[in-house]
């Protein structure tokens, strides 16, 4: 049985690393994308179970990526966690995401929330 895939879109490599390790500890297969522009086509193809999305991305903003995800039928099954330091923007986009976590994000918090978001058959 394959593990669910979590795609982490985060331009900061350290944070991407932390989120990746954390999600792996939560039994996710992880993939990290550091660029908004690359993220869009990759996501459509990967159809991840979970997407951890930073809003401040180079080239294409996280907001645009979020909009793309919500418009892409192939990604209708993907759960989205917004991971941002901008509370105002997070609030604005809250309805489009499944969860908003404000940076700094605790490892425990991310792990717990990710676990809860997994489909039951996957845990």
């Amino acid at each position: 049985m394959t593990k669910p895939l979590a795609v982490i879109i985060e331009d900061d490599p350290k944070l991407a690393d932390i989120f990746s390790i954390t999600l792996q500890s939560a039994d996710f297969e992880t993939k990290t994308i550091q660029d908004g522009q690359n993220a869009v086509p990759a996501l459509s193809e990967l159809k991840p179970a979970l997407i951890v999305l930073d809003l401040h991305l180079p080239n294409v903003s996280g907001e645009d990526v979020l909009a793309h995800i919500r418009e892409d039928d192939r990604l209708s099954g993907s759960r989205i966690i917004l991971a941002t330091a901008d509370a105002l923007m997070a609030d604005r986009l809250r309805s489009k995401a499944d969860l908003v976590l404000l940076k700094p994000i605790s490892v425990n918090q991310l792990r717990e929330m990710a676990k809860r978001m997994l489909p039951n058959d996957a845990s």
Partner: protein, 776 residues
């Protein structure tokens, strides 16, 4: 006196009486009297007829008697030789004859010379001394050879006798002597005695002069009373035919029947007292009169009774009427014996009329009372109206005085007002601008009066001004206020605030407008400068906020890296670590968290200080709010082993209005605080309806609590309860300060209930508002 008599006579009672007497008694009396008269007349007639019949009978008898006496005398005279016989024989013969015939008073034979030859007279008389030559009847007999009689005195006394002389003839039918055979009047009178003439009736004979000749009563006979005046014919002589007469004799009325005997010149009269003749009638008349008297008396009584009976009700009725007139409406009414007669009808009618009068009187009285009441009422009202009027007049005078005063005041205010005031016509032509207005515009009042205010209005403001004017004149608005620009006489542009009101007359027709103008040019310039400064400040603030946001973001990322790696290290992700390493990792985590909190609080505070809190009001449900808040706090609570529970009371409305983001911020702050200061026990978030105006969010914990004296200070920036706590609990000390600022921005209130060691209860009271209200 006369009046009262007249009244008495004219009274109904007397009239009734008279009427009854006249109607009932007078005719019957009259009839009785007529009947009695008729009867009297009949009786009188009958009686006179009877008397005449008697007289006629007497006449016949007398006639017969005298006839017989004449025949006797003739027979005696025819005796042969009565003259020539011996005188001695003659006397006895005559005596014999006298006795034989018996009717004569005496018998005598006389010679033609009148000397007596012989006489059968007792006692004998001396014949030679007697001559009868002068006796009329002798003369007739002697000379004419005819039997004759004559009433005259006797030869030897004055008593009247009926002389009767019969010629004695010889064979040659020559008178040779005369036989005197007188008859005494008493003897004749005795013939009259035989008649039954009642007790007082009498029959007598009158001679040719009307004097009594024969009468059964010698005294009457000797009286020679004359009846000539009573019994006479039209020419004054004695009547030649039988008849009747009535006369008064000795105070007694007598009625008589008479029959004349023409041969003798006598008249036979039979009379009786009328009273005797009429005695039956008189008795009947007396009876009638007594009856009449009795009946008159009875009639009078009856009439009096009847009249009283008739007039009593009338009198009582009139008494009742008088009483009614005098105002007594209870006077007794006559009792009527018979229902339905005219009096009863009259009484009933009167009673009805009286009732009607009483009723009408009552109604009249009521009406009068009512009228009086109304008059009094009206008078009172009038008086009060008068008083009110007087008061009003005084009030008006006062008002006029104060009006004058206030007019003067207003004029002064108008003239001396520091703001421009002017009146203008509906068309916009100036009427009375005050001094301040003129000063502002630079034109004199006279110049302004020839202008319309639109002429001095800045062309760019004309459109708005016109549209306001239109609304004002259409009555859509009572006045308007606008900012606009004037062009002064000197060509300057000034900014003003214009307030215009429309004045209408009593008929609601617009008469003129009043405009108040404040020169705000200076203010406008200041404002423009201020706006510029503000914009610049805003830009600067924006830059600062953006910078802060960027700094915040930029800071959070490395903090997050520190925190993440420290956690992973602590978890042993990178290989087993020692206890001191774990502790060191924990300190790194703590510091990183503190740094993160510090950064976000600083950012929030920076936002407040930049005046950047703009509430974004939306409709939301409390569950949405919970959904946002819960993930941020539950984990930290549970990590500390605290029970975190959320209660929503039923009385809370499903949909609320507010800035959900700021509410979320408040709740996260309060909950983080509660979790931070609670070592064990629970943290409860509760939503409920406080009252009809507000709802409440309550955060309670079982933490260390806040001393009473410190409770007022906890909302100030950079405060925590004490220094020692500050060290054990991360945070800038800005959390509650931010909550306080947010709640007051929202128009909400926050208060705390706490005591040391007993936990704390923070309550935020939020007003219910609607979106419309907020928009307003």
């Amino acid at each position: 006196m006369q009046n009262s008599l007249f009244r008495k006579l004219s009274s109904l009672q007397v009239q009734f009486l008279l009427a009854l007497v006249l109607i009932g008694i007078f005719p019957s009396g009259l009839v009785s009297l007529v009947l009695i008269n008729l009867e009297s007349k009949a009786l009188t007639d009958q009686s006179t007829r009877e008397l005449t019949g008697l007289a006629r009978g007497i006449a016949k008898e007398l006639d017969t008697f005298l006839e017989e006496v004449l025949m006797d005398s003739e027979a005696i005279s025819e005796l042969p030789d009565i003259v020539s016989m011996d005188p001695n024989q003659q006397t006895p013969l005559l005596l014999g004859l006298h006795a034989h015939y018996g009717r004569h008073m005496q018998l005598a034979v006389a010679k033609l010379s009148g000397g007596l030859q012989a006489a059968a007279v007792t006692p004998p008389i001396p014949l030679e001394q007697v001559s009868i030559a002068k006796i009329q009847s002798f003369q007739i007999a002697a000379t004419q050879g005819k039997q004759a009689w004559w009433v005259g005195p006797a030869l030897f006394n004055d008593s009247l006798i009926l002389h009767m002389h019969t010629p004695i003839k010889d064979t040659n039918d020559q008178v040779i002597g005369v036989l005197g055979s007188p008859v005494s009047l008493p003897r004749l009178s005795s013939l009259l005695e035989q008649l039954d003439l009642g007790s007082n009736g009498q029959a007598f004979v009158l001679d040719d002069t009307g004097k009594i000749l024969l009468h059964p009563d010698a005294e009457e006979r000797d009286s020679r009373r004359s009846y000539a005046t009573w019994i006479s014919s039209a020419d004054g002589g004695l009547p030649s035919t039988s008849g009747t007469a009535t006369y008064s004799l000795g105070g007694e009325t007598r009625i008589a029947g008479f029959v004349p005997i023409p041969e003798l010149g006598w008249t036979i009269v039979v009379d009786r007292p009328e009273a005797e003749v009429l005695s039956p009638v008189i008795a009947s008349r007396n009876l009638t009169i007594s009856g009449m008297v009795v009946s008159i008396i009875l009639s009078v009584f009856a009439a009096v009774f009847l009249a009283r009976g008739l007039t009593r009700p009338v009198r009582e009725l009139s008494a009742a009427a008088r009483a009614l007139g005098a105002g007594d409406s209870d006077a007794p009414l006559p009792e009527t014996v018979v229902d339905g007669n005219e009096l009863a009808t009259l009484v009933t009618a009167f009673a009805t009329m009286r009732e009607a009068i009483i009723e009408r009187e009552g109604a009249l009285q009521n009406a009068r009372d009512d009228l009086e009441d109304r008059v009094a009422d009206r008078t009172a009202k009038l008086a009060s109206v008068n008083a009110a009027l007087t008061q009003e007049v005084a009030e008006r005078r006062r008002v006029m005085d104060s009006l004058k005063e206030s007019e003067e005041q207003f004029r002064l205010i108008f003239e001396l007002a520091p703001i421009g005031i002017t009146t203008a016509t509906i068309e916009g032509v100036f009427l009375h601008p005050n001094q301040a207005y003129c000063d502002m515009i630079g034109y004199s009042a006279e110049e302004l009066r020839e202008k319309k205010y639109l002429e001095i209005t800045h062309p760019d403001d004309l459109g708005e001004n016109r549209s306001w004017n239109k609304k004002l004149l259409a009555g859509e608005i009572p006045h308007f206020r606008m900012e606009k620009r004037y062009l002064t006489k000197h060509g300057e542009v000034i900014y003003i605030i214009l307030q215009v009101a429309l004045v209408r007359d009593a008929n609601n027709e617009p008469t003129h407008v009043i405009a108040q103008v404040v020169d705000i040019t200076e203010r406008k310039h200041t404002e423009e400068a201020l706006a510029l400064a503000r914009d610049q400040a805003l830009v600067a603030s924006q830059a600062k906020t953006e910078l802060l946001a960027k700094v915040s973001h930029e800071l959070r990322t490395p903090i997050n890296a520190i925190l993440g790696y420290a956690e992973l290290l602590q978890e042993g992700t990178f290989g087993k670590i020692s206890v001191p390493q774990v502790e060191a990792s924990g300190k790194i985590i703590e510091s990183a968290n503190y740094l993160a909190t510090l950064v976000s609080e600083l950012l929030d505070q920076a936002q407040f200080e930049g005046g950047k809190i703009i509430l974004e009001m939306t409709e939301f449900s409390v569950h949405e709010l919970i959904r946002r808040v819960e993930p941020q706090v539950r984990l930290s609570a549970e990590a500390k082993g605290l029970t975190f529970s959320i209660k929503v009371e039923n009385n809370l409305p499903t949909i609320l209005v507010g800035d959900i983001y700021r509410l979320q911020q408040i709740l996260v702050n309060l909950l983080s605080n509660a979790i931070k200061f609670t070592e064990d026990g629970e943290v409860i978030l509760r939503f409920y309806c406080s009252n009809q105006d507000q709802w409440a969010i309550e955060v309670s914990d079982t933490g260390s609590g806040i001393p009473t004296d410190a409770q007022a200070e906890i909302f100030e920036p950079f405060r925590q309860v004490d220094g020692s706590v500050t060290r054990t609990h991360i945070g800038t000390g800005l959390g509650l300060s931010i909550v306080d600022q947010l709640t007051s921005t929202m128009g909400a209130k926050i208060h705390v209930q706490s005591s040391l060691g007993q936990g704390s209860v923070f309550t935020v009271l939020l007003p219910y508002i609607s979106l419309e209200e907020y928009a307003a």
